[in-house]
Each structure stands twice: as C-alpha cells, then as structure tokens.
Symmetry: C2
Subunit: 435 residues, 2 copies
C-alpha cells in the first residue's frame, strides 16, 4: 500500500499542526469503542468459524447467491466480490424495487441452486422486505416454502425486528449484524463476509488486512495512513474542496467508489456540512469528467485508487493491415495494461499542471488483505472526519422522513398523519394520480 499525497497541496507541516486534534479524535474513537457505543473497530478480531461452517453447509447443494439488501447491506459485499471475483456470474443483488430488476434476474437463475441471503439490520427495510416477499411469491409454486426456507440465510439484529422473529419462528439459518455497527460500517461483519465467503473469498485474509490497518492507528500521525488520510480529507474540506472524487483506475475496484460514496455521504452529510462524494472511473471518465476536473471550479479533491499488478494483459500486435496507420503505429509492441498505466500517469501530469489537488493510493495487487485494509482505513478516516466536522458519523437521521411519507402512502399503521402532511406538501392528491 502506497499513499502519495505530495500533490494535494497539503504539506507535512500542516498535518503536523493538526496532529493533536487527530490524536484527540482517535482517543474519542477508542473510547466509544471501549464503551461498546460503536463496534466496527473490533470487527477484524471476531471469529469467523460460524460463517465458514454455514457457507460449507449451503455450498453443498447451492452455487448461486441472491443477496437481498440495499445500501450498507449490499455495497460492501458487492465491492468485495467485484474486486476479488470480477464479474462473478452466480451472484445477484436485489436492491432496488423497480420491478424490472427482479424480472430480469428470475430467468437467469435456477432457484433450486440458489442461496437467498436477506440482509437488513433493522429487519424492516421496506425495499428489502418487499423484494423478499416478491421473490418468495414468485418462487413458491416452483419451490414451495419449505425448500425456500432451506435456501434462506437471514442477516439481521441478534434480538429484534421482524426478520429475527421470522428466523426464530421458522428455524431459518441466520447471522448477526452487531447492534452497535451501522450498516455502512458493517462490511467486515457477517453482512459482508457471508456473501464473500459464499463466492470463495478467503475472509480471514480480509480481516488480516483490516488488522494491519488497525495496527497503523498506534503509529505517529505522519506514519499512519488512516490518520494521514483523515487529515488530508479534512484539510481539503477546510480549503473549500466541497467535492471528493474517488477515481479508480481499475475495473475491479470500481465498486469501492460506490461503497465509499455511501460511507462518506451518510456519515458526514449533516448540519449543512459534508463533502459530496463522486464516483469516477479511469480511463472512461477522462472522456467525460476530466474537462470539468481540469478547467472547472477548483472545488474538488481527487483520490486516484489503483493497483500495480494488472490481471491478464493483451499485447498490441502489429497486424499487416494496420502497419501504416498513423494513430496505430505508436501502440504496437505495447500492451493494453501499459496504455492504461500511461493514461493514469498522463492524467496525474495534467492534474499537476491544472493545479487540481489529488492523492494517489496504490495497492500492490488486488487481494483479500488489501481490500480489508482499504475498508478499515476508510471507515476510520470517515469516523475521524465526523469528529473533526463536529457531527455524529454513526447516525443518519435525515433519511427517515422520506421513509415515513412512503409508509403513509402505503397505509402503514401509525403513519396516517404523514399521508395527510405529504398531500399538503405536494399539493396534489397522489392517490388519484399515483405517479
């Protein structure tokens, strides 16, 4: 893991100056962790035997995983699987409730061979429950409830909520989301590790990488990458960088941006504060966003995330028909991967010339350990930024209002007033014209 922040326009001295406040933030974090107010710092040390046993059991007859979950219940697993297994063809995520999503998945799966992992910390996430009901409705003729049950794994609160109640009552295999771990900090719990292990990922190695990042928290600020990153992002925010672009030069890492996007936005976007996280993909977005990044408002800090080792490569051979073509010639003898790396370096050069601050995070390769390191490091950096911003990085109060209105529309008991309030706000009767 290499972290180069020499082009962030933030100097070592500036980091040294905020050393004390970073250490305060870290103490605050340790304290919350010791008091069990938060749980994510301890996740790397949890035992994984129960996950591996469950996976071994399910994999005996099943080869496909349908993950029913949304937000923090799905993004971590998706990121891990894309990074380590590529476009794995036997893994599907039912997050959105646009009916087309389920409609397109059904013909592609053999339900007999599917494990259905329903993930919701509260056990009441509307999208997840609805997709679960819809899936069971769609499959019950073919499989019957008993066979569906055998293929189910419920991941939810250890005690509370409707999903826990169902698991208990129907004796369904289940896993736990620690009550003191918010969804976006849960990738290193059963939430992210069961789907990863099901697809063949070595989850102990993932946790090993997280432990490496954990150990870095004991180092001096300027030696500790989680703390350097915390400081760099905070100072960039103070310097007016309202937007934080996570730009991956790696197809396998692109879902890390989606994971980061939730973590950053939901943890820090409160009290009119918060950097807006943006996902970008190199080289694709050189042909879409680079004009804006280079010559638009200087309100962005860019993180370039990539891996030194590329998997597979293609030589650009000289084909006779191509040999005289001006725009082809210089490529012969190079490989796709060489062009990919040259484009990254070229983009860095352009950022320097246009004075666009960026930091570069280089993994030696994309493997279990490095993914664990990345997750843990960014979770710490996010939590510490919460302290520095003066916001609580572990709650998300402003997502509730929209849910309550939706409950009102659907006639959920106790939300009758929200329905009336919404009719007034929208100034039209959505019941007559529901779209």
């Amino acid at each position: 893991m290499k972290l180069d922040f020499s082009h962030t326009n933030i100097k070592d001295e500036e980091l040294t100056k905020i050393k004390d406040i970073l250490n305060h933030a870290l103490k605050w974090l340790w304290n919350l962790s010791e008091r069990k107010v938060i749980g994510f710092l301890e996740l790397p040390f949890r035992d994984t035997e129960h996950i591996k046993r469950l996976v071994a059991d399910k994999r005996k007859e099943l080869d496909t995983l349908i993950l029913i979950g949304i937000g923090g219940s799905s993004l971590g697993a998706e990121c891990l699987i894309k990074a380590l297994k590529g476009s794995y063809e036997k893994f599907f995520v039912l997050d959105n409730v646009d009916p087309i999503k389920l409609k397109e998945i059904l013909p592609r799966i053999d339900p007999e061979k599917c494990c259905f992992n329903v993930v919701s910390k509260s056990g009441s996430t509307a999208e997840t429950i609805a997709n679960f009901i819809a899936l069971v409705s769609a499959l019950k003729e073919k499989l019957g409830w008993e066979k569906i049950k055998e293929r189910l794994v419920i991941t939810t609160d250890p005690e509370k909520g409707s999903l826990r109640e169902l698991a208990r009552k129907e004796n369904i295999a289940s896993l736990e989301v620690p009550p003191n771990v918010a969804g976006r900090y849960s990738v290193l719990s059963d939430v992210g590790l069961f789907p990863a292990a099901f697809t063949g990922i070595d989850i102990d190695k993932v946790l090993l990488g997280a432990k490496t990042a954990y150990k870095e928290l004991d180092l001096d600020v300027l030696e500790s990458k989680p703390l350097i990153l915390s400081g760099i992002y905070w100072l960039s925010y103070l310097k007016g960088k309202r937007i934080s672009v996570m730009m991956t030069y790696s197809e396998r890492l692109e879902k890390f941006s989606d994971w980061y996007r939730q973590l950053w936005a939901e943890s820090l976007g409160k009290g009119e504060k918060g950097q807006t996280p943006v996902k970008a993909i190199g080289t694709v977005d050189q042909h879409s966003q680079i004009q804006l990044y280079n010559d638009g408002p200087k309100d962005k800090i860019i993180t370039l995330l990539h891996a030194e080792e590329l998997e597979g490569d293609f030589c650009l051979e000289e084909i006779p028909a191509f040999s005289e073509l001006e725009s082809f010639k210089y490529l012969f003898g190079h490989s796709l991967g060489e062009l990919f790396k040259a484009e990254l370096l070229g983009t860095m050069g352009a950022f320097i010339k246009y004075r666009v601050p960026f930091l570069r995070l280089t993994l030696d390769r994309i493997n279990e350990e490095n993914m664990g390191w990345l997750f843990f490091t960014y979770q710490v950096a996010t939590a510490i930024n919460g302290y520095l911003y003066g916001v609580n990085p572990f709650d998300q109060p402003a997502v509730e209002e929209g849910k309550r209105f939706a409950y009102g529309i659907l006639g959920r008991q106790g939300f009758e007033e929200k329905r009336k309030e919404l009719t007034k706000l929208l100034q039209f009767d959505f019941l007559e014209s529901p779209s």
Copy 2:
C-alpha cells in the same frame, strides 16, 4: 412528458425575466447551425436508410454487437439500449483499457456471430484503437483478418483519420460522424443509431421524438420544456447550486445519468465554471446519498427522472409464514411498483421539508420517442447554458493535456518533449517504476 419545476425555488417570474437572454441564446444556436458550425440540431432530420440497410445486412449472420468506443462514442448507444432493451445480453462495450474488461468479454461471445462497431470521431482515440488492436490480435487465429473485416463497422469522420483510411483501404463497411458534431452531441447520428438499430430499436421513432423537442424550440419560453430546463439549470447555478444531481427512479433510465454527466461536464466545465453533474439512482441512493442531500450543504439541484408506466410488476402476496410480522403486514396487497412510486413521492416530500430544490421530469413510458425527446432536449439545454455561462459548449480543450503526456510515455513520435515534462512534474522516473 411532464416537467414540474414548482419545487426548484425558481418562480415563473424569474424565468420570464430571463426570457430575452434565453431567446438570444437560441438565436445564437440557430445561427451556428445555419452556418454549419454545429450539426446536432439537424440530426433528427437526417435519413436513416443507410443505417437500416447496413443493419439488415449484418443481422443476416450476426446477433451480437461489440461496441468499441469510449465517452461520446459509447454512452448514447448504451443509454438507448439499456432504456429500450434492458440488460440486453448480446451487447458488449469495450471502453476502458483495463485488460480485465476484454478478458471478461472474450469467453462470453461467439466471435463468428459478432459485429464489431469501432467508433471514434477522430479515428485516433487511444483507448479505442488499442482495444481494437487487442481484439483483432486475440481473434485473428480463430477468425482471420478477412472474416474479422466482414464483421467490422467503422464509424468515424467521413474524410480524415486512421480509421477512415483503414475503411477505405480495406473496403470495410463504414458510417459517418458529422465533422461538426462533437462526440457528446452525436447520439442521434450514426454513432448512436447503428448500435440501437442493430439491437432492434426503431431509430426513426427515436428521431421522431427528437423532432417533437425541436418543434418546442419555436414556442414561448414558458411553453417550451427545452428552454424552461435551460433557464432552471442556469438560475440554479447562479443561486449557488454547484452540483446537479440526475437521480433516476427507473433502472432502465440509469444510463441516462452517465450520458448527461458527460454532456454537462465536458460542455460547461471550463474557465473555472460549471456545475458538477452527479449520478444517483432511486431508491438505492436513498440508502446512500439522501442523508447528504437533505441535511448536507444546500449546494445541489436534483432532477428526478422517472416513467409513469413500469414494465412488469410483482404482487406482494401474503405468505402464511409472514402474516404476523409487523414490518411485512403493511406491504401485503401492494406491488413492488407501488412501493417504488411511494418511495419517489416520499423522497419528494422530504426534499420539500428540507428545502432541497428539485425538478421532476416524468415520461409517460420509456419508449423510442421519449428517449429521442430527452436527448435532444438536454443537448439544447446544455448548449444554451454554454451561451449563458459564456463558455464554448462544443469544445473540450482541457482533456488534451493528459493524452499528450500518455503519448509521451508510449513513445509516440512528436511527443518526446511531453515525456520529459512529465518526468519533471511527477518528480519520479516512471520508466523505472512504471506503475
């Protein structure tokens, strides 16, 4: 098509006040079009017989399309095909040069049945040429150059560039990118229409929709959706909305955000100006970005794009095992689609309460005409915003620098100095440590 801007915090009077400048901008646009400086306004009226003939010819033996192109050469076609054909399994895009991309596509295709559409306006886009060479290298043993040639369609400048030279010399089927149409404005030319037609989309209907939008340009500002949108986005920018979120409540429309993102960023991001476009997906991003949108900085305008008619739906039946569960009950009897719409309305209600400005664009359904309308409308709105910002919305000068450095690294003739310059800027010798 319905456009509701009653919650943008921008009043009719404000739009009326800028009527004159919007009309000036429109005149400027007509003038550029009449002088053939720009070509996109005339695209809806171009004949499509040559495209349909070529598609009929290729479809005789081929059923899979591999589009080799990046940015404006691929995003429009991807958007059209996703919107109208869903997750079409016989369509692949080779945009990025991460070798994993080609490596993952190769085992999924039968090269004998593939049409390869190489798209680059200049005929020299490094990624596209490199992916083309790599693909030909990978397939030449199996197919041989003659059979590859029969399966090729080159879309490029009518006269200039290496791809045109190749098409001429080797007698390869070819299509044209009008020289006065920049890539991001080219979806309604051969660039977007050939891939669309290949997958079975009625391209004349797409153009028909674009013509409907064209006609709206003659209407009074407050009657013309392209002009209203132009004004709303500009006024929002003047009011400090630095970020424009395109949030689609429709899985099929999600690639419209990627297309918009390029159009908006590359056209307007110059001279330290420009809104940063952001892609968001409802309901997924309610569980990721809504906390930030509702309670973070008030620097965003949100566009909610959705369709009234959903394709397919799933009833949420009451399964006996579920009947007593609190978080399940209120959903029984509803459908997935009803929940989807309730979530959209709930999000709108929350935006109003949190004073997040948003506009809502409702298609009656996702069809050819509406997609054509959308593309044309947003292209006009973007071009007009260029005039209002005082920037040229048709060029992209700041994307060149990174390319020149990459050429330098790869040893392209004439770029030796760029290589030296880059070494100095990066302060390390990338040749010894190329990653």
